[in-house]
Amino acid sequence: MYTCIHVSLKNAKSLICDLLQNSEDIRCKCICPPYRDIEGQIYKQNVSLKDCNCLHVVEPMPVDGKDVEAYCLRCECKFEERSSATIKVTIIMYLSILGLLLLYMVYLTLLEPMLKRRLFGHSQLIQSDDDVGDQQPFANAHNVLSHSHSRPNMLNKVEHAQQRWRRQVQEQRKSVFDRHVVLS
């Protein structure tokens, strides 16, 4: 039984190691400029830092024995590493947050008024004075809702917080976009 646990731990560790560090994420890049009649060339290999020099990376060597040193002196070799896992995770997180925000925006502008209109009908809703008509035509919808149905407190709080946030955004929008009072 102990050997089983031991083996499975080893497997898990190697799996995690593979996920986190792709062996393709290191490379040695050598740039060799034109030499006599040989064109300039770029060589890449994924070797470790100690092997990152002209002799190990430049293959096949375009010059013969005695010119190799002169050729290699002109080459510049650099060791580089990156983390493709970080890049992947970052991009996927960015796209998902962007997608969520877009969906939320679509929901707020299109779906929510439609849903509320379907639930309440036009007669019960009163327009408040100071809204310009885009975000808050159903400002007291949640009041009506709380009077008519008994909802759990949590949902009420969320609704309340959301309404307050939307009012704030509307204020901000008025002062930035309409009156140009803040932020030119």
Binding site: E24, R27, I31, C32, P33, P34, Y35, R36, E39, G40, Q41, I42, Y43, K44, N46, L73, R74, E76, K78, E80, E81, R82, S83, S84, T86, I87, K88, T90, I91, I92, M93, Y94, I97, L98, L101, L102, M105, L108, T109, R164, W165, R167, Q168, V169, E171, Q172, R173, S175, V176, F177, R179, H180, V181, V182, L183, S184
Partner: protein
């Protein structure tokens, strides 16, 4: 006499809507301790209790109490240790969070920028450089061509050459750019309108004491981060340094809520925000010291030494976090990190100063043009169509930028290429020199400069010069209309790009001049043929510093940022020469940098620390009440009833009232705040027995014994500030303004021969300064 009310509204001849807003604010004032400040408009001045000086004294009391208690028990000792540590822990968290966000922004921006040109087939999340990272098909001439990356023309039509491919690429470039810009502006508009613009002018105002609610909130942070990436990727001529400062300050503001010490004290929170501004610049440029100096010089109002050390710590933590995320794949911090060690000669100071003059002229011109454009946006119908404006500018930028390869690449890439010194290993068009005398003439110069002698320009270089000149004109004009749009936009990178192009052009010009005239008197001594004497990359760097200095008027911080970017202490003298020249030339045309100009355009109540008066005047000329005003509303230390006090408070809208000995002799006792008065009277009515309208209000220490049938007096000495700041009526205005700036006051009492004469507030000073500069006072509309 007008003392401004607690929300910052000066109640003179306000229009009806302002009056209504004001009375809403007034009704919110009665319960400020509950912490609800909803609907109070975008900004208000900090309460006097939370100004730097009294805020610091509150903090010192608290600290003294903790220190005294710490000797009593181990728990109290631990509490005192953790209290001292909380500041450092907060800085650490701010650095980590900002560094992580900046790394994410960099990675996402690179990817999205390359998305306009093509797609990586091995993994859509790779940008162009990373897609071709392992490929062996890159050649010396075309370093970014590999089969894994395909441009849109290749994907859609299968060809990569020819007119059709060019057209398809052009179209897709425009489509993506418009899509990104549209997403950016709609997200900003829908979720967080405060996320647009640069953010540095508003942060300067916040650090001088004006609170803008929601400006540093979590929605602003999320939207700013996401839309910054979109805006940068859409090809617009803007940078991300200013918005990164805003992002860092948002992080700091949000993290302050975790620590009670910082959550409640606005003055200490502003210290943290100063440090966060340093963190922002540090992650933008990879320059921690430069960031701290930037915060000190440009952004902060009140920068004690303790903040210096903590800012440096936070900036280092952020730079280290960014480096470990490694967004550029080479452990570099910034895209244009160059390592130059080419020497320069004293004669080259001439061209460097010329670049400084260019930078100063460009700076002055840019500020005037941009402010004029922003004013047009504020006052005409252009301002009603922000989304359309963004889309039109993006389309214009995309259409004009695509044909020229130097404007098609992003700002940071352009700067990186211009700073690059041409060596044998480069094959770009800008390094298209003619080979002179065989290909093996350069091994001798190894170790000094790049080992390459100055060479005559080849065909490639001439083509590059033409394109660069066109790019210069284009960038100069397009940045004027881009900065200030309703997307997050910074202007460090565009200004540096303009300067770098100008510098490189001058550098190549000098190089060719030196090559063809190596016998003339100027060059003979130091620039013999076959030597590498002129480095155009250095000229580009100096030009970038000069232009950025001309626009923002930074001095020390700019020089430090530039040499942190290059690692070359040799270049301090050219950088300083260019920066000083550009600042002098730009100051000759107008004293304000771009951020102060925007502050004045928006009318924020910011007392500019560097302004001086043109005409000397006395405090008596500026204080209130003036001749035509009603007399000063004061409270006497005894003799007023609760009813009278309430009537006085209700009939006026001042945020505080002086307390004097009696109506005959206006000898000053102290100053009491409106809201403290109202709260105390409310509490007394509810809790204390017998306090009614006819009760006497007593501000003295020992009240006279009340008559038998009179109700008990209301003692309010506890709420009076017995040490209000006073100046005499003959104090020159310069000194009064200095007092306001250095102590962070909101109002100051004016006495004459020891008797109270009037009051002077920060708003009066701002109006006076605006009048003094012979411009119409442009105060924040809520202040009118």
């Amino acid at each position: 006499m007008q003392v401004d009310a607690g929300d910052g509204v000066l109640f003179r001849s306000a229009s009806a809507s302002e009056r209504q807003t004001f009375s809403e604010l007034n009704s919110n004032q009665s319960n400020p301790s509950a912490g609800r400040r909803s609907g109070a408009g975008p900004g208000r001045l900090v309460d006097p209790l939370e100004d730097p000086l009294p805020g610091k004294s509150k903090d010192r009391d608290r600290h003294r109490e903790i220190a005294n208690k710490s000797r009593q028990s181990t728990v109290a000792l631990l509490h005192s240790v953790s209290d001292a540590f909380s500041g450092w822990l907060l800085m650490l968290l701010v650095g980590l969070m900002s560094g992580a966000l900046a790394g994410g922004i960099d990675i996402a921006a690179h990817w999205l920028t390359d998305m306009k040109e093509g797609l990586c087939l091995v993994g859509f999340w790779f940008n162009h450089e990373h897609c071709c990272w392992t490929s062996n098909e890159t050649t010396f001439q075309e370093r970014d061509r590999c089969p894994q990356w395909q441009s849109w023309a290749e994907i859609m039509t299968g060809t990569s050459e020819g007119a059709l491919a060019y057209f398809v690429n052009y179209l897709m470039f425009l489509v993506w750019a418009l899509l990104f810009a549209l997403l950016a502006v709609t997200l900003v508009r829908a979720f967080a309108p405060y996320a647009c613009g640069s953010g540095i002018p508003e942060i300067k105002t916040i650090l001088s004491g004006f609170i803008i609610r929601g400006y540093l909130g979590k929605w602003t942070l999320i939207i700013k981060t996401i839309t910054l990436v979109l805006a940068v990727s859409s090809g617009l001529s803007l940078g991300k340094e200013g918005p990164l400062v805003h992002v860092a300050c948002c992080c700091a503001n949000i993290l302050c809520h975790l620590f009670t010490k910082y959550r409640k004290n606005e003055a200490k929170r502003r210290e943290v925000l100063s440090a966060a501004a340093a963190v922002g610049v540090s992650v933008a440029f990879g320059a921690p010291i430069g960031g701290v100096l930037f915060s000190l010089e440009e952004v902060s109002y009140y920068f004690p030494l303790k903040t210096l050390w903590r800012s440096f710590f936070a900036a280092l933590v952020a730079a280290f976090t960014l480096r470990s995320i490694n967004p550029f794949g080479n452990s570099r911090l910034v895209l244009f990190y160059v390592e130059f060690h080419a020497p320069w000669h004293l004669v080259e100071l001439g061209p460097f100063i010329l670049l400084g003059i260019f930078g100063g002229l460009w700076g002055a011109l840019f500020i005037r043009a941009n402010i004029a454009w922003c004013r047009i946006r504020k006052s005409t119908r252009l301002g009603h169509y922000p989304v359309t404006e963004v889309l039109v500018v993006t389309a214009l930028t995309g259409m004009l930028a695509y044909p020229n390869s130097y404007t098609r690449m992003g700002g940071a890439e352009l700067i990186s290429e211009l700073f690059n010194d041409c060596s044998l290993l480069d094959s770009s068009q800008l390094c298209g020199y003619k080979q002179v005398g065989g290909a093996s003439n350069s091994t001798s110069g190894a170790g000094v400069g790049n080992g390459l002698a100055d060479r005559p320009a080849g065909v490639g270089l001439y083509a590059a010069l033409w394109q660069l000149a066109l790019a210069l004109v284009f960038k100069m004009m397009i940045t004027v209309i881009t900065f200030g749009m309703k997307v997050p936009s910074g202007l460090f990178i565009p200004s540096m790009a303009v300067g770098a192009i100008a510098g490189r052009l001058l550098g190549v010009g000098m190089e060719q001049l030196a090559y063809y005239n190596h016998d003339s008197a100027i060059f003979r001594g130091w620039c013999s043929p076959g030597a590498d004497c002129i480095t155009p990359g250095l000229y580009a760097m100096v030009g970038a510093a000069a232009c950025l200095g001309g626009v923002t008027r930074m001095t020390v911080s700019l020089v430090v940022i530039m040499f942190e970017l290059t690692g070359g202490l040799e270049y301090i003298v050219p950088l300083m020469a260019a920066t000083m020249t550009s600042k002098w030339v730009a100051d000759a045309f107008g004293r304000e940098g771009i951020y102060e100009a925007h502050i004045r355009l928006n009318g924020y109540p910011f007392l500019e620390p560097k302004e001086e008066f043109q005409h000397s005047s006395l405090t008596a000329d500026v204080m209130r009440p003036r001749r035509s005003d009603p007399p000063l509303a004061v409270l006497t230390q005894e003799g007023m009833t609760v009813e009278e006090v309430e009537a006085l408070v209700e009939s006026t809208h001042y945020s505080g009232f002086p307390v004097v000995v009696s109506q005959d002799s206006h000898r000053l006792v102290g100053f009491v705040l409106r809201r403290d008065l109202l709260i105390s009277i409310d509490n007394a009515r509810k809790r204390q027995e017998g306090v009614v309208g006819a009760s006497q209000v007593v501000f003295t220490e020992h009240s006279p014994a009340p008559a038998d049938d009179a109700p008990p007096p209301l003692r309010l000495r506890g709420i009076v500030d017995l040490s209000p700041f006073t100046v005499t009526d003959h104090t020159p205005m310069d000194i009064t303004v200095d007092i306001f700036r250095k102590l962070g006051l909101r109002q100051c009492l004016v006495t004459h021969n020891g008797k109270l004469l009037g009051i002077i507030t920060k708003k009066d000073i701002l109006k006076h300064m605006a009048n003094d500069c012979q411009q119409r006072p442009r105060l924040h509309p809520l202040q009118l």
